[in-house]
């Protein structure tokens, strides 16, 4: 407004002379007047136009011009007051000076104090529930691909793990432990008012991955979930508010059980337009290689294993007759991992006039993956606009476009690139002498593994996603204090996945004809909100009442086609395949959610506050002919600001801003696939023609999962507000959690995929999470500025009850066709505990062997299928004097004792430095990569160097058992042998920045130039022997957490970048 006013004045006066004249005439000529002039700038040195400058106690006001200059007539002993919205108002004694240049400080308190809560905002001081907030400055140095990754370590009570090091891979965000076992525990995101599910598996929609056939842990597709937030450019984000306890989330009732993360993007500020550019280039590498056998070691190992597996000495591979003469062979890790280059550019324009403000940005990111053949490109565009149409009417829009183009690889799977890299034998070259890719030359080589370089470079698996997300609103003042707001949001995504395997000839590994799978999917979701808000204050009482209605309608559909019989590898397309062999399939569906809600916030005298809300949701996920569709979610919270009591006056200098908070709320979850309440038929064909078989046992009784949470919080500041402390203690109990009933195969026939029946989702049990969140913040004031934030989160998860007779054992695929049990979830225990045998070392003496319980029905002896010296001795858990499947027990805990993040920002003159560390303590990892790498169960595959140290009568001091030539031999059973401590401390980010002095850059009309260098993932302190201790969950499945089956390792990234504003 100030700026417009200024323009107006200037226009009216047609120049400065007249302006002074006018001012002179207007000013009371009672005192000796001095003309004071100067420039007003912000802390970054950018001049501020439109600042009000007035002589205290008078009506004498001027406004700074476009260059931030002002000139005012004032008495020599006057006090000048400088004020501008968003900045701290300052008073300056003139003391006879004629030039006063001033730096206005940004009113960070004012910005930070407003917290976005459900369907409204509230001052941070007034919040009754537990809400964590992250601001731009907290995350701007983190060069992460997606915003969900940036939350890691920044908010207490929020556990973030990267499930893959692949660019654009999905992360798992758990707000206060795991609430449900529905397969996703991801929070609800509200991006500029539009709800977006954090569930990367889209379970409540089509449930299909964008880049593969399914999310199953037993298939070969691996960990293929991609981030649902990848279309948002992190640079556009203004703030992230995380609603943690149910008294805050209950207003989102139906979908609030896993927490709600509200993301608000930047908007324009009043004043002249600002143009800013931010760009960086980075180089990423994996920071660790695993020790695998080189060719010479491999040859020795193969010879040894062959003899043990009964190959006669004269049948040993002749080329391995003299291992010592062989060189190192192919180092597949060197061949497959690369230094990956990333570039990012973003240009943003923002500004605003009295009635309208805008923010426009465009961004481009081109990121290579550290694994050959993986990569990620993203184009983002955003327009945020707010305008006052009438005095009583405000309208606005946020429009975001994100287009991503990813090259996918398979990870966390036996057939994935990482497994191929580690286990492919080093006697196979990358390429033949003619330049073509090499492979094993004889089928007897049991060629399970493929040349990973050939895989990475020949196969074409791209995923293009085009996302459009937008929200428009109109807000009208109907009467004093009464506002009506209508919001219409839409979110849609189109994705195209092209998965092409060319015809190839890598040794005996031949693909006769190229194969192509094309997947085209799209979904959209429309969200309509009608909100009435009434604000009223009388005396010491103030009320805010909200009443609202919301409707959400989503639709999805997709087609996929497979083709084969190509005449050539390039070009490829469905039209170029053998038409007789092209098959197509499709799916579609929709879901709806209808909600009514209300909230009251009451405050008395700034000391006592109460909020209460109530929401009713009706979901299409449940049987429409019953009452099951409706769920009701009440919440109430109270707070007491102790420090505002008169009797606390004297303690303020020691301890201030003391507030107690107590809240209770109920929320729900309905994110399950459609039509679980009714029976459907699935097409199942045979040579006799198409047919339909039932594919689910329906459960008409299925209904809302509900969650109750109690939160007790305490906030205070110490040391003159330098140290602030937030403590929260909570107890969350979810009941009736939704899960597909884990029925035995004798009832399901193994599920719908192969003609059996899927078990229905049912409300199966209850679980509890208790924990506490702590945030400590310390900041200094002065020239040397230091600000540290420590967040600390602890939760204890426990399954309280489970429907009788059910069993939540989960398996993963070890080798393309064999699912093995790896976790179990038992009442009274945390969920997803590692499950297997307890290994008690190796059999070293015949006495041990003879006195041990019978192992797996195998007699004692040296043959195949017998137990021998050097075999793993397993513990007889149930004491029945034999070892069998009933001796499996819980052998490890993937849940951390606590997670933490420690952010330190330093600023001295033009330098800024930030160090961010985060970590996890007390969690276990099941290292299946180690199992595969030391199994010694098959020939023709490489191994970790540890594998060579296997037990023999001469080499008994080892923990690697004697080799047995069968992949299902007891020595490689899932056991404590593969469970490792997964604690780590990671220096996640180190950034050093330098801002060029203002007087230098001002000459070229720039207002800010900052150069910085940054290292992401600088160092990890851990005992874990695998690539990376941060494992996460398999496709966000909380029951498969901390299982390393060849996860794509997170790289170390060095970046240099620049921020420019003018």
């Amino acid at each position: 407004m100030g700026n417009t006013l200024h323009e107006l004045t200037k226009w009216c006066t047609k120049g400065k002379t007249l302006f002074y004249l006018l001012l002179f005439c207007c000013t009371a000529p009672l005192y000796a007047q001095t003309t004071v002039n100067g420039v007003v700038a912000d802390e970054k040195g950018m001049t501020i136009p439109g600042v009000n400058v007035f002589v205290k106690g008078t009506q004498n006001v001027v406004v700074t011009d476009l260059e931030g200059q002002y000139r005012i007539e004032a008495p020599a002993d006057a006090v000048l007051v400088y004020s501008f919205i968003g900045f701290v108002t300052q008073e300056v004694d003139v003391k006879g000076r004629t030039q006063i240049n001033l730096t206005l400080k940004e009113d960070t308190a004012a910005i930070e104090e407003v917290v976005v809560i459900g369907y409204g905002t509230q001052r941070r001081d007034d919040i009754n529930s537990s809400v964590s907030s992250i601001r731009t400055k907290d995350i701007e140095n983190l060069k992460q691909t997606t915003v969900d990754q940036m939350i890691q370590g920044k908010a207490s009570g929020v556990t973030v793990t990267n499930n893959s090091g692949a660019p654009g891979g999905a992360v798992s965000i758990h707000v206060r432990g795991t609430t449900s076992i529905t397969g996703t525990n991801e929070p609800l995101y509200i991006i500029d008012g539009v709800p977006v599910s954090g569930d990367a598996t889209g379970k409540s929609m089509s449930g299909r991955p964008a880049g593969s056939n399914d999310f199953s842990s037993s298939g070969g597709a691996g960990n293929n979930a991609v981030s649902p937030l990848s279309m948002i450019n992190p640079n556009d984000i203004q703030s992230i508010d995380i609603l943690k306890d149910a008294s805050a989330t209950a207003i989102y009732g139906s979908r609030g059980a896993n927490g709600v993360i509200i993301i608000t993007t930047k908007s324009g500020k009043k004043g002249t337009g600002k143009l800013s550019y931010e760009g960086y280039t980075s180089a990423a590498t994996i920071y660790k290689q695993l020790d695998v056998l080189n060719l010479s070691q491999y040859a020795r190992q193969q010879n040894a294993l062959s003899l043990l597996f009964g190959v006669p000495a004269e049948q040993l591979r002749p080329e391995f007759a003299h291992p010592e003469l062989l060189g190192k062979g192919t180092d597949w890790q060197d061949e497959v991992y690369r230094t990956a280059i990333t570039q990012s550019h973003q240009l943003a324009f923002s500004g605003g006039s009295d009635n309208t403000s805008y923010y426009i940005s465009g961004g481009f990111l081109d990121q290579q993956g550290t694994l050959l053949g993986s990569g990620y490109k993203r184009y983002t565009m955003r327009l945020n606009l707010d305008s006052k149409v009438k005095d009583w009417l405000k309208v606005g829009a946020n429009i975001n476009t994100g287009i991503t183009n990813e090259i996918l690889t398979i990870n966390q799977s036996y057939g994935g690139l990482i497994s191929n890299t580690l286990l492919q034998s080093p006697d196979i070259p990358v390429r033949n002498s003619d330049g073509s890719f090499a492979g094993p030359l004889d089928n007897s080589m049991n060629a399970t593994y493929f040349n990973p370089v050939a895989e990475a470079l020949s196969k074409d698996n791209t995923l293009i996603r085009k996302n459009f997300l937008g929200n428009v609103y109109a807000e009208a003042d109907i009467a004093k204090g009464l506002k009506y707001r209508v919001e219409l949001g839409a979110n849609t995504e189109f994705s195209e996945n092209t998965d092409f395997t060319p015809a190839y000839n890598w040794g005996v590994q031949v693909n006769q004809s190229a194969d192509l799978t094309e997947r085209r999917q799209n979904w959209y979701s429309i969200n309509l909100k009608n909100l009435l808000t009434y604000d009223k204050k009388f005396g010491k009482h103030s009320f805010t009442i909200l009443a609202g209605q919301e409707a959400n309608d989503s639709h999805w559909e997709g087609i996929s086609a497979t083709a084969t019989g190509f005449q050539s590898n390039s070009p490829f397309g469905l039209n170029l395949a053998d038409p007789a062999q092209t098959k197509a399939s499709s799916y579609r569906g929709s879901a709806a959610l209808y909600s009514l809600f209300a909230r009251l916030i009451y405050d008395f005298d700034g000391k006592y506050s109460l909020s209460a809300s109530y929401r009713g949701d009706r979901s299409s996920k449940f049987d429409p002919t019953t009452d099951n569709q409706w769920g009701y979610f009440p919440a109430v919270a109270v707070s007491w600001k102790l420090s505002n009591e008169p009797f606390m006056e004297n303690t303020r200098k020691y301890i201030d801003n003391i507030k107690f908070r107590l809240g209770y709320g109920e929320t729900g979850n309905q994110q399950i696939p459609n039509n679980q309440y009714s029976a459907t038929l699935q097409q199942q064909n045979s040579g006799l023609g198409a047919g339909f078989l039932p594919n689910i046992f329906p459960n008409p009784d299925v209904t809302w999962e509900s969650m109750e949470q109690t939160n007790l919080g305490l906030d205070f500041t110490l040391l003159d507000s330098r140290l602030s402390v937030n403590l929260d203690v909570y107890n969350k109990k979810s009941s009736g959690f939704l899960f597909p009933v884990p029925l035995p195969a004798y009832l399901t026939g193994g599920g719908g995929q192969y003609g059996g029946l899927n078990p229905p989702y049912s409300n199966l049990g209850a679980m509890e999470n208790k924990g506490y969140d702590i945030t400590l913040n310390y900041g200094t004031k002065g020239e040397f500025n230091w600000n540290s934030t420590l967040v600390f989160s602890h939760y204890q998860n426990k399954l309280l009850e489970l429907q009788d007779g059910l069993n939540l054992v989960q398996s993963v695929n070890f080798n393309g066709y064999q699912p093995y049990d790896v976790t179990n979830t038992l009442v009274g225990q945390p969920i997803g505990m590692f499950y297997g045998y307890v290994a008690e070392g190796l059999f070293q003496t015949q006495d041990q062997l003879n006195s041990a319980p019978l192992q797996f029905g195998q007699s004692v002896g040296t043959g195949a299928g017998q137990t021998s010296l050097g075999d793993v001795k397993y513990k007889d858990i149930n004491g029945d004097n034999k070892i069998d499947a009933t001796d499996r027990t819980l052998i490890g805990n993937p849940h951390p004792d606590f997670t933490y993040g420690f952010t330190n920002n330093f600023r001295y003159k033009n330098f800024d430095l930030s160090i961010f560390m985060q970590g996890s303590y007390g969690n276990d990892i099941m290292n299946l990569t180690y199992r595969n790498g030391t199994s010694n169960a098959q020939l023709y595959q490489n191994a970790l160097t540890d594998a060579a140290n296997f037990w023999t009568p001469e080499n008994t001091n080892t923990n690697i058992p004697r080799p047995v030539g069968s992949t299902s031999n007891p020595n490689v059973q899932v056991s404590t042998r593969y469970v490792e401590d997964g604690s780590y401390l990671r220096i996640q980010n180190l950034t050093l920045g330098y801002s060029l002095p203002f007087d230098v850059i001002n000459k070229v009309k720039l207002t800010r130039v900052r150069l910085y260098g940054s290292v992401q993932n600088l160092h990890t302190f851990t005992k874990y022997s695998g690539y990376d201790p941060e494992i996460g969950s398999f496709n966000q499945n909380v029951l498969l957490t901390g299982i390393d089956n060849g996860r794509y390792p997170s790289p170390r990234t060095f970046s240099v970048g620049i921020n420019v504003e003018f």
């Binding site: 030359l441 084969t564 197509a584 929709s590 045979s686 026939g749 192969y754």
Partner: protein, 513 residues
């Protein structure tokens, strides 16, 4: 309330891409098609690998060094084996899909469906349930009898039932199938022959009676089938223009000899088609019969190399020996050149499992138009897999007539027995013993998943001695493994035991309604 009522429609979202059970089964055609999926998808996980890994590797007919399917070579198969899981689940898929038809189809069909069509479909369901249980009881022994899965959805932990009760159920089911299924005559119009018939159920029941040593019932049932003239030996006197080798080719799917066969289809889904061509045959860089990047996962054992006499035409059609030629099979030479017809390379160059020979049965070579039918993305094909064919029934008839005796010269028995021999190019016999029949069964049905069960029904000590004497190694190394008594029944899958430890308890008697 106003809001609530207008949300009625809004939150009602019936399936948009699946048929609702309630709205289906309105026409005869829909009811006929109801069982189509039970001729392929429900059997896939059983027939893909498990079937051969247990019945053929276990019986010593096949050899494999591939770790996923070779555990039965030395009888080390245990409950953690993935294929064990798959085979188990697949058989139960058949049981439960059959149960849903048996229990509910009658209530669900629309008024336009004719009773005859309905009864035939229900008859097929009884047939499938009996067939699945027949495998279950022979592979695992005591298993739970489940006539309606909905009874156990809320209390899934149940006991197993006794073997004799399972056999009783199987008999009752085949009797119901015989009652309900249409009678049929298998003609040269093969497309009509796919669905099972009254005769199929009788033939299976004859086999069940034989396993129960109910010889008179087995003989009578087999004779009903023979006298109906429903089936004929392909290449026998009734169908002389074909021969034994034609049984295992794609164009002869559902020929006159087929009693019940799995009807594979390449429909774009994993698990609808037959993987045998990839898993059998030869796959080396020099020559491959496989459409995939691998092949020859199973090979003949050293024990079957001498199984056939030189005049036996089944020898060439069952096992590929070095130097044998197959003029109609298309192969890929040197990884790039397709070629119709090939000569089997020397033993050292057959590769694969190091057996020095390769499996011919069900191996139809690389894709070659109508000769082989199409392949799918997993290189699977559409050639049928036999569960039972007429030659089996004829041998059952002979054995049932022998009825446990030392030898027989019964003319009926000899006619049946010699029909099989003569089709194989062998001279007829005039008197037969059990050993003759046992040997003939192994030769006729080698690699078709039957011999393990034959071994399971002869006296245990005899079977143990028989298998202990087999060379279960490859051409380079002779190996011997002797099964224990408890190796004749498989372990329950570990995953199932986790979900229901009662599987390990003693079986309980089943109460039939």
């Amino acid at each position: 309330m106003v809001f609530a009522s207008c949300s009625d429609e809004f939150t009602n979202r019936p399936p948009e891409d699946a048929l609702s059970l309630d709205a289906y089964y309105a026409t005869d055609a829909q009811v006929v098609a109801a069982t189509n999926g039970m001729y392929s998808r429900t059997w896939f996980q059983f027939a893909n690998k498990f079937f051969y890994a247990v019945t053929e590797v276990g019986s010593g007919n096949m050899y494999s060094a591939s770790s996923d399917v070779s555990a039965m070579r030395n009888f080390s198969l245990n409950g953690s084996d993935a294929e064990l899981n798959n085979g188990w689940a697949s058989l139960w898929a058949n049981v439960q899909q059959a149960n849903l038809i048996i229990n509910f189809l009658e209530d669900r069909v629309g008024p336009g469906v004719s009773p005859a069509v309905l009864q035939n479909t229900i008859g097929e369901a009884y047939f499938m349930r009996a067939t699945a249980y027949f495998y279950l009881v022979r592979l695992w022994g005591n298993v739970p009898i489940i006539e309606n899965p909905l009874d156990y959805i809320n209390e899934p932990q149940i006991n197993t039932n006794r073997i004799e009760d399972v056999y009783r159920l199987i008999e009752m089911d085949y009797q119901m199938a015989i009652e309900k299924l249409n009678a049929k005559i298998r003609t040269s119009n093969y497309t009509d022959n796919g669905h099972v018939s009254k005769g199929s159920a009788k033939a299976m029941l004859a086999k069940v009676f034989l396993y129960e040593k109910k010889y008179p019932e087995a003989k009578a049932m087999a004779e009903e089938v023979i006298n109906s003239n429903e089936f004929k030996l392909l290449g026998g006197s009734m169908v002389p223009d074909k021969d034994f080798g034609d049984l295992f080719t794609y164009p002869n799917n559902n020929n006159e000899e087929s009693i019940f066969a799995i009807q594979w289809i390449t429909d774009g889904n994993y698990g609808s088609a037959n993987n045998a061509n990839t898993q059998f045959g030869i796959s080396t860089a020099a020559v491959t019969t496989s459409n995939a990047s691998y092949g020859g996962v199973f090979a003949p054992s050293q024990d079957v190399i001498d199984l056939y006499d030189s005049g036996d035409i089944r020898k060439h059609e069952t096992i590929m020996f070095p130097g044998d030629t197959y003029p109609t099979i298309k192969v890929l030479v040197n990884g790039t050149t397709p070629q119709i017809g090939f000569t089997v390379p020397s033993a050292a160059e057959i590769g694969g499992q190091g057996a020095g020979v390769a499996i011919k049965k069900y191996c139809i070579g690389i894709v070659n138009g109508n000769e082989t039918g199409p392949i799918d993305a997993w290189a699977m094909m559409q050639n049928n897999t036999y569960i039972m064919r007429y030659a089996d029934l004829l041998l059952i008839h002979a054995e049932a007539t022998l009825a446990g005796g030392a030898s027989t010269s019964d003319s009926g028995a000899l006619t049946s027995f010699n029909a099989v021999r003569q089709r194989a190019g062998l001279t007829p016999m005039t008197s037969i013993t059990f050993d003759d029949i046992f040997l003939e069964r192994r030769r006729e049905l080698c690699f078709e998943g039957d011999f393990w069960f034959d071994l399971g029904r002869i006296p245990r000590a005899q079977a143990i001695a028989f298998m202990g004497a087999q060379n279960r190694g490859n051409q380079f190394a002779e190996e011997h493994f002797t099964p224990n008594e408890d190796d004749f029944y498989l372990d329950y899958p570990d995953n199932e035991v986790s979900k229901n430890p009662k599987l390990l308890d003693e079986p309980v008697p089943y109460t039939f309604d």
